[in-house]
């Protein structure tokens, strides 16, 4: 069977939401299968071959994950995903060092699981500095330097943003943290396997990884925890003392094996894949720009993973656009799609006008995206943006030369 029909049935929309999740790579599934069937042993059982075989699978996977980020395998622990890794890293460190330090530095564009962890710690009495980002989505290194105090225990800055795909200057951040002797945690859910990461060269002390963002299974992730100099954590989950006591519970062998395999494939194919995706990203952007005026890319285009585009289609509300492009699975920063009815906080943090934030789509390209899919997507987008602009009173005003900012709208 061809890989593409394995990934997507013909009656399904074209998947362009690779930052939300990725399909399992068939090679990963294959590696996992034996651990669902006859190699079902508990990897912590020491008294028979079932246990030993499962343990072997888990330890191989640990080494595969470690290698992807330049770590030692003893420094990798398995978790249920990046959400848990982020919680464990930030809460774990904050708790452990709380007698001496009480301050955390992060950014306003972090994933909700980092922001909510920080909010939780604020309620416990910790202080948190939320660094703003510049118009391109990147932090200002001088602002970071200025934010760190002698009470700071950890700096948590994501490697790649999930909405706009921008890559933070990790090596520079790591250097500053090391100089100031604070721990550096990075949420690399969107970065691992996509861009080269090296915990040594980048002075990273803690790093969160997610399986389902790298063509591995859902429900598994990893946390890199540096051993030299040693980072100590208070665990979130206690019990049998597995994972060096950082995370108790029987490891899900098939999921660990899947994460390991996914990491190895990503490492081997990273360069090729990045080249291919860069071409597709450029093809998509050029195709849209050639045929549609007044579209704007949100976030830096240079410092960005090639699998992401985030575009505002001015004068066209995002949810209505998504309803039109039924054959494309994308996501939107529009308020109308969110339960809170607030537009994307990430776009707002870049200083994107609220009205433009409502018109944004996130388009995620990935391993199984084809040129043909990109071309089909461009055609659909162009068709529906044009149709909806014809229906848009704002587009009409813009064509008549009326500045919509000059009108006094009754905000509601």
């Amino acid at each position: 069977m061809n890989v593409h029909t394995q990934i997507r049935r013909n009656d399904q929309p074209i998947y362009l939401d690779y930052q939300a999740t990725t399909p399992l790579d068939p090679r990963v599934l294959e590696a996992m299968m034996p651990y669902f069937t006859h190699q079902f042993g508990n990897p912590h059982s020491r008294s028979h071959s079932y246990g030993w075989e499962a343990e072997e699978g888990v330890e191989k996977a640990r080494a595969q994950v470690a290698k992807l980020v330049g770590a030692d395998e003893k420094e990798v622990i398995f978790t249920s995903g990046a959400t848990e890794s982020n919680n464990l890293a930030i809460r774990g460190v904050a708790e452990f060092y709380k007698d001496r330090k009480n301050h955390i530095v992060t950014t306003v564009t972090e994933h909700k699981c980092v922001l909510d962890t920080c909010r939780h710690l604020e309620q416990q009495g910790f202080e948190v500095t939320y660094l703003p980002v510049q118009k391109n989505g990147l932090i200002d290194l001088d602002a970071l330097r200025a934010a760190i105090t002698d009470k700071t225990v950890v700096v948590s800055i994501m490697a790649v943003n999930n909405e706009i795909g921008v890559i933070q200057p990790l090596a520079e951040i790591g250097k500053i943290c090391r100089e100031k002797k604070v721990f550096f945690h990075t949420d690399a859910a969107q970065a691992a396997g996509k861009i080269p990461l090296d915990v040594e060269a980048m002075n990273i002390d803690l790093m969160s990884i997610s399986g389902h963002k790298i063509y591995g299974p859902k429900g598994i992730g990893a946390l890199y925890v540096r051993r030299k100099p040693r980072v100590r954590l208070v665990p979130l989950i206690v019990g049998g003392g597995q994972e060096r006591g950082f995370r108790s519970g029987t490891l899900p062998t098939p999921l660990c094996v899947g994460l390991g395999e996914a990491a190895e494939i990503a490492m081997n194919e990273m360069d090729e894949e990045a080249k291919r995706l860069t071409k597709l990203q450029q093809r998509m952007l050029k195709g849209l720009q050639d045929r549609l005026p007044e579209i704007f890319v949100n976030g830096d285009l240079e410092h960005r993973i090639p699998g992401n585009l985030n575009i505002s289609f001015a004068y066209v509300e995002g949810e209505s656009l998504m309803m039109g492009i039924k054959n494309l699975a994308v996501s939107s920063g529009s308020a109308c799609t969110s339960a809170s009815l607030e537009p994307s906080y990430v776009l707002r943090a870049l200083g994107v006008d609220e009205e433009l934030a409502h018109t944004s789509l996130r388009i995620g390209l990935g391993r199984f995206t084809t040129e043909h899919e990109v071309d089909t997507a461009v055609d659909e987008l162009v068709r529906h943006v044009k149709k909806l602009r014809e229906m848009s009173p704002l587009w009409e005003m813009a064509q008549e030369g009326i500045d919509i900012k000059s009108i006094e709208w009754a905000a509601h």
Binding site: E317, E319, M323, A339
Partner: protein, 128 residues
């Protein structure tokens, strides 16, 4: 979100898109919502000499429910007197389109738009 067939039909085949001459004496224009909130509706009615609404047009920037609500309202007001049109309730729109709870405000906007268009028409003809 799963939308009703009626809603999808109005979204895919919107009725009465377009604009009427806003300077014309027999045209009332309502412009409601705000771009920063993600929804703007322009709804226009043209009232004939017999006092009946003979034409209605809309343009909407907003979600699918907002587009469908405004499309539906233009259909409903045609052939009605402005007094009759004024009695259209957002709950009728929401019920007809089976709007999910988070989308009720989109139907409120459509009700506001028709009221605003009627008010504009009345201010033009100078009657109450």
């Amino acid at each position: 979100m799963a939308y009703s067939d009626k809603l999808i039909d109005h979204y895919e085949n919107p009725r009465n898109i377009g604009s009427l001459d806003k300077n014309s004496e027999d045209v009332g224009t309502g412009l409601v919502g705000a771009p920063a909130c993600g929804d703007v509706m322009k709804l226009q009615i043209k009232v004939g000499p017999d006092g009946l609404i003979e034409d209605a047009k809309f343009k909407t920037f907003g979600c699918g429910s907002a587009i469908a609500s405004s499309s539906l309202v233009t259909e409903w007001v045609k052939g009605k007197t402005i007094d009759e049109a004024e009695t259209i309730k957002n709950t009728d729109i929401a019920k007809h389109l089976a709007l999910p709870p988070v989308k009720i405000h989109c139907s409120v906007l459509a009700e506001d738009a028709i009221k605003a268009a009627i008010a504009d028409y009345r201010s033009k003809v100078g009657k109450k």
